[in-house]
Symmetry: C3
Subunit: 354 residues, 3 copies
Amino acid sequence: MSKTSSLKTNPGNFFEDFRLGQQIRHATPRTVTLGDVALYNGLFGPRFAVQSSDVFAARLGYPRSPLDDFLVFHMVFGKTVPDVSLNAVANLGYADCRFLKAVYPGDTLDAVSEVIGLKENSNKKTGIVYVRSRGFNQNGDAVLDYARWVMARKRDEAAAAPGDLVPALPKSVEPSQLGAACPPVNATAYDTVLSGSPHRFGDYKVGEKIDHVVGITVEDAEHMIATRLYQNTARIHFDHFTESKGRFGKRLIYGGHAISLARALSFNGLGNAFHVAAINGGRHVAPLFAGLTVFAWSEVLATAELPGRNDVGALRLRTVAAKDRPCADFPYKTGEEYDPAVILDLDYWVLMPR
Amino acid sequence: MSKTSSLKTNPGNFFEDFRLGQQIRHATPRTVTLGDVALYNGLFGPRFAVQSSDVFAARLGYPRSPLDDFLVFHMVFGKTVPDVSLNAVANLGYADCRFLKAVYPGDTLDAVSEVIGLKENSNKKTGIVYVRSRGFNQNGDAVLDYARWVMARKRDEAAAAPGDLVPALPKSVEPSQLGAACPPVNATAYDTVLSGSPHRFGDYKVGEKIDHVVGITVEDAEHMIATRLYQNTARIHFDHFTESKGRFGKRLIYGGHAISLARALSFNGLGNAFHVAAINGGRHVAPLFAGLTVFAWSEVLATAELPGRNDVGALRLRTVAAKDRPCADFPYKTGEEYDPAVILDLDYWVLMPR
Amino acid sequence: MSKTSSLKTNPGNFFEDFRLGQQIRHATPRTVTLGDVALYNGLFGPRFAVQSSDVFAARLGYPRSPLDDFLVFHMVFGKTVPDVSLNAVANLGYADCRFLKAVYPGDTLDAVSEVIGLKENSNKKTGIVYVRSRGFNQNGDAVLDYARWVMARKRDEAAAAPGDLVPALPKSVEPSQLGAACPPVNATAYDTVLSGSPHRFGDYKVGEKIDHVVGITVEDAEHMIATRLYQNTARIHFDHFTESKGRFGKRLIYGGHAISLARALSFNGLGNAFHVAAINGGRHVAPLFAGLTVFAWSEVLATAELPGRNDVGALRLRTVAAKDRPCADFPYKTGEEYDPAVILDLDYWVLMPR
């Protein structure tokens, strides 16, 4: 073994490697570019006017089109994988995710995580790791802040639990916490013909459900290109040889891929929801694989004004994505159990012009 | 139903929704970027030097490399889909298409259409809608102008026909109308070694046929990435779940994909045809699906000088694309009937240095 | 035939068309952009910090992130294909490849080759053509210089051999020849947390072997997008219709695709090998096809200081890629014979901070 160097490769962290309060600076800093934006557009097909047109964005008050919020999310998330979830059995959830500053092509992102909770499972083989991850731009401004928890394997079942704390996390982000990444918007300059939808904040009611109608089939080439673009290194997305003998018999698609598809599909019915301001919680209910077609629907869970702002209002949405299952009848849960077609249950806040 | 909002999604227009003279401003304004260009290059592999090299372009008289003309076409076309052809049974044809101004990375495109003809079919279930669509850059300059007609479904068979006019459209664009998007070119600075072909305008004769030799197989990931890049929302290109039970049993490839492939293939034999100045007419003869290989050949239908210009000349070309069928023997028609392998019959003008 | 113009398409050069000392200026000049970089990142997933972050690169002494070295290689290589290897039976090898100047987004590349050797095979049907190819930027600065040899078909078996010389080529590039494309680096500013690996030049020992662990499955859409991006026109990569009846029964993947995958995989264990300075030799041992999963491992063959530089040191590496074969036990050769899973045997120099 003296001539080999498995020691130089990244084995990832196991449950017992984490410590409460531990700060992890992540590799790899990444300058995000117009090239990344084009590839994201080609892979998902979003049509929100603010992110599509520098001219439209500038008319509202942005210096130019910002990056799609989920592209920012995936870029930051990708950095955390080698340190947080390389040995994860499951990505359990997100909470308290806030977009804090708009990101523009040319910005350079890096990320830091803090371990905010640790809870060994009763089987002693795994434990839950809670981290708060933050993305920063080249000026050190936070652009994204979110909590995430994963089930991590232990390297050694006999190892002591490194901590025992389940952190308190909010069920939803308060409206007063929304909007930091959205400059003051000239809502009268917001052209709803160009944006593709006449419906503004005031047109949506709590309880309203919207079928986004269209479905998109996912190909292996697509999700791998996307996931590599984010420098997300989770093996299960890329290695057919190994996964063909594994749990699913095939490559698993990065959960964020379904989020981006659902967001792009949601344009049809939510065309002026130009900014994702926060994610209250998200659950990847079931795995997604290439060859399946993703449909989505949304429900308005709440509406909120933003303290001190009359340019935009916030909708709290639940967007549900399903596989090989059109969503005209809004498939969700029977009792506590999800419809078997559901793959994503995402609770988040979007901003809309008033 | 009171809690649902299918009313917020775009149902598209049906035949009886159109009116003669109706003006439609389309969503979504789109800043085109170097990222879009790279993706287009990766998807189609064009090699025309003007579009490939800023240095080559600048030596000729362009400020920098302009976008591929068909990338501009697809971007403008994509905007018209949600309003014009979401409920189309078939995309019947194009005519009188002129490229009016070069488009550069950083330009923002939007589009407007006017309904110029309406003709109900005798079955009363469908009708033909003729539109003239125009693309504009951020300064309001028209960059593209074309007529297109589609067969649209009626929502209600009992509805009265909304008009009855078949517009007069030219069989071909006049040479005097060509060249607006091509700056004065320093033809002596045009380096035919760098461009990859020694053949200039004067080397092509009417009746000459060119087999472009090479074939390219299309994958589902590729045509979906391209079509989303253009923000073209026609469902039939993306949704395997629905289409597997539909007319073709699979996703149909956007017709423009075959055009871009044929144009890229045509480099081999037409390497100096650096600018598509106009499309006289185009017909998608048969559908194209993933897994098939596209070949192409061209015939010189006419040559023309441009009034007042001695830098460039125009070739009128017919480019025919075929699927799973090499084109060494120029497959086309037997009598009125197309060879079953033919998928595209495109009649257009290109400019070449003299 | 008078009306046809196969004469206008590029038939490529056959063995007897080459002459010793012949200079070939290649089409197509190509401005490389941030879009190309994004697509390359999406297709291969490299994570080297210098190429990922303008900020990281600037801290070291680069004006901004340079292009991935192999992206430069593929772009230059692609230009040589229509003139050098369109009629090649096999791409036999590379040698004496040096990266001479960093390439940045916005640079325009072109290429020239010189025929430096010709050797007819005893069967008189083929011959080996040796060329030295050079890539240049828009200022005429050489950015890349390498020798390559291919087995070319003869058009006419009766044709006389056009020359008879096997050039002397170095087995490896001398350390004094390395580093021209790497500016003086502020190695103390090199942040090994951000770069993702703590291991610097001094931490690697000759004979050390590193399994890069992760595998990546290749899809047809991916390798075709990559190969078209480089404007590489070799038909065998694109045309399933013809290749389904050909030698392999399917499309062959461009050999450079395996190189880029292996380089990206090598990050896991060689995370600070931020620059490929030279390729001593490379062999595509076996063909690669879509659906197969590529794994890789590396061995440190030598270490070297660069004369006059104490910022960086050089590792001479052998990186071996294998298909559908994890590399924990370093598959390579039994005697002279390669393990049947091996597809690539690449001998090259990388630079690392000291």
